[in-house]
Amino acid sequence: MSLSNAQTSLLDRSRPAARPRTAGSRKRRYALTVLAFLLPSAVPLALFTLGPMVAALWISLHEWNLLSAMRFVGLGNYIDLLGDPQTGAVFLHTLYYIAGYLPLVYVGGLALALALNTALKGRSFLRGIYFLPVVTSWIVVALVWRWLLNPSNGIVNAVLAAVGIQGPGWWTDPAWAMPSIILASAWKDLGFVMVILLAGLQAISPDLYDAAKVDGAGWWRRLFSVTLPLLSPSTFFVFVISLINGFQVFDQVYAMTGGGPNGASEVVVQRIYDLTFRYGAAGEASALSWLLFVVVLAITLIQVRGQRRWVNYG
């Protein structure tokens, strides 16, 4: 983002048409205007995001069930968390989710974007269909897929049975619970990724393809040497957003498996929720929240740093 104009001194912006005033009163008036425009957003952000953020740090240093008095335990909650095998498990499950979800939506979204970037009849209608799940709530997506993947009478296993395949237990089976969630999530987000990549594709100049064709490059060659490098900013955006959202996955897990069966799909946020409202361990939950925040921040920063190596802003 460019900040240069923001640094411009206030006096440069004084208006020739303004009635003559002292510099001081003009400054004050301008400051009030800025405040008037900023306060409506600054107040809620300070009160309901930044303030609580700091408060979470404070709470994380205490043992507290939200009912009795808080008891200061220093870094005790963080030490407990790091020693609890469940902490590692929920982060692993979350990573499993991301590792399954991200390639699926990226490759699927890319394939769709490439296909829809050609002159297809009814292109915008098809695009609309693919995008429809994006506007559907996670809870509905989870319920619908819970039903589609119902092991006993869901349609997916019914179709599989019709072709002679015994379908798995999906969300009732610990081994298949996370794949079920991944499948549902990929279905929902495919259209989102497709639209972002499609916008990126349309920004690529056709001349480049023509030049590549003249050089005798085939379709795959053009994909890897023209399309993907020039699409890298969009790809980068998809990765950043997906990772940030992936670490916060909760709604679909809550509604589809509740973290089960037997904790097999319990993710970080589900653990935060359970610690707070099931086990009455708000301090530990806040510590885990901060741990999550630090991980998300670190991964985002690493990505932003790493982007110079592969993202081409041409």
């Binding site: 939200l66 009912l67 237990g169 099931r278």
Partner: protein, 413 residues
């Protein structure tokens, strides 16, 4: 599934009106509305609870009781959230295992019990701290061995009796299991509440002496867990076959495809109309007999604006003759009252015939282990790890060792 929100619709509408209409007056004058959140009537006893409420409202025309019923599985989280939010009902259900934690958190109002003699002394005592009652027992029940007489007759086997041990149960279970016909010999949930009990039946300890660490990772504990987990796939259906899903075991029993079932006496009503003969027996033990007694209670919120009216309702719900009649008539657990004569009528009723077993099971009671911090998490961990062993992802030894490590981390801090 029952439609338990049925009543809620009306309640919601009424609540909206009442909330605006009702001034925060004192208890003594003017009509008051108190709220009651419960799980005990969930899944079949909603009408019975309503009968008690109707009787109470008739006796106390100034008090209206609004009831919310939640499934047991959601209740703990909902209660904890409501307590923290300050949106808890005036009166709410609690379990014995959580009493200690809630009492020490100060969310329970101390109660002046008008007629303490009406209660079974031991039960009333279980919910008092330093001589003051903070909750009133609403019922008690035991877990017994239900069995399908027709299946036993067909196989030419003797019915379970109070001198049975695990070995007898296993032998009968194996003989009665006919997987091809979808008939199973035995069913016992793989969970915390079963484990602490079979541990006691095997002479083991759940917690160490001062309650700061678990003691179940012992030869007795491993054998007990093995007993529970090992049923799966031999005498009991496996998880893949549906075991562990809600109502699976009771439906299997109702369908006549389960010979023995470990469950609570709250199922009497649900099994009343099955087309086969059934009875109950005290659960077999191994080295000793031990039965689980469940006791629920109701507490009054310390922040309630109508503590007096709420206490009145809590006491009516737990000791009135209406309650005793309703519970005994429907077989909805046992009333927590001291009146032995009332309980005598319970014994006279039929189906099951051997109701004496309910009282016999009280002779050797295994109380659930209770810790001050991390009760719910401790229970969840035991269940999770046992299921890991049941599913074959861990050995019983690994599961108990892992449970020991995780629980000690929770309750030790």
């Amino acid at each position: 599934m029952n439609r338990r929100l049925l009543g809620l619709v009306g309640v919601a509408g009424a609540a909206a009106l009442v909330m605006t209409a009702c001034a925060p007056a004192g208890d003594s004058d003017g009509p008051v509305t108190i709220t009651y959140t419960n799980f005990i009537s969930n899944d079949g006893n909603e009408d019975n609870l309503q009968t008690i409420i109707d009787a109470f409202e008739e006796e106390n025309p100034d008090i209206t009781v609004e009831v919310t019923t939640l499934p047991y599985g959601d209740y703990g989280t909902a209660l904890q959230t409501d307590l923290a939010a300050g949106t808890v009902s005036d009166v709410f259900d609690i379990e014995y295992a959580n009493y200690k934690a809630y009492q020490s958190s100060g969310v329970l109002a101390p109660l002046e019990v008008a007629n303490p003699d009406a209660y079974r002394a031991s039960l009333l005592e279980a919910y008092s701290t330093d001589g003051t009652s903070y909750a009133l027992p609403s019922s008690f029940s035991t877990v017994v061995l239900f069995f399908n007489k027709d299946l036993f007759d067909a196989a030419g086997l003797d019915y379970p009796s109070s001198d049975w041990t695990w070995a007898d149960e296993e032998a009968a279970g194996l003989a009665l299991t006919d997987q091809a016909a979808g008939v199973w010999g035995d069913h016992q949930p793989v969970s915390f509440y079963e484990f602490y009990k079979v541990l006691a039946q095997n002479g083991g300890q759940f917690l160490n002496e001062d309650g700061t660490a678990v003691a179940f990772n012992s030869p007795e504990g491993i054998e007990a867990a093995q007993w529970l987990v090992g049923k799966s796939g031999t005498t009991m259906p496996t998880i893949e076959q549906g075991q562990g899903t809600p109502d699976f075991d009771t439906n299997l029993f109702k369908d006549g495809k389960l010979a023995m079932l470990h469950t609570g006496i709250w199922m009497f009503g649900a099994f009343a109309d099955v087309p086969f003969g059934w009875d109950i027996a005290v659960e077999p033990g191994n080295t000793t007999q031990a039965s689980a007694v469940f006791s629920n209670a109701v507490g009054v919120s310390a922040t309630s604006e109508h503590i007096e009216a709420a206490t009145k309702w809590a006491e009516f719900l737990t000791s009135s003759t209406t309650m005793v009649d309703v519970r005994l008539d429907s077989g909805w657990e046992l009333p927590p009252v001291s009146d032995e004569a009332a309980l005598a009528t319970y014994l006279e009723k039929d189906n099951p015939a051997n109701r004496q077993a309910v009282f016999d099971s009280l002779d050797n009671v295994a109380l659930p282990p209770v810790v001050a911090v991390g009760q719910t998490e401790m229970q969840d961990i035991v269940t999770e790890e046992l299921i890991e062993a049941q599913a074959g992802r861990k050995t019983v030894e690994e599961a108990l060792a892992s449970a020991e490590e995780r629980i000690n981390a929770v309750i030790g801090g």
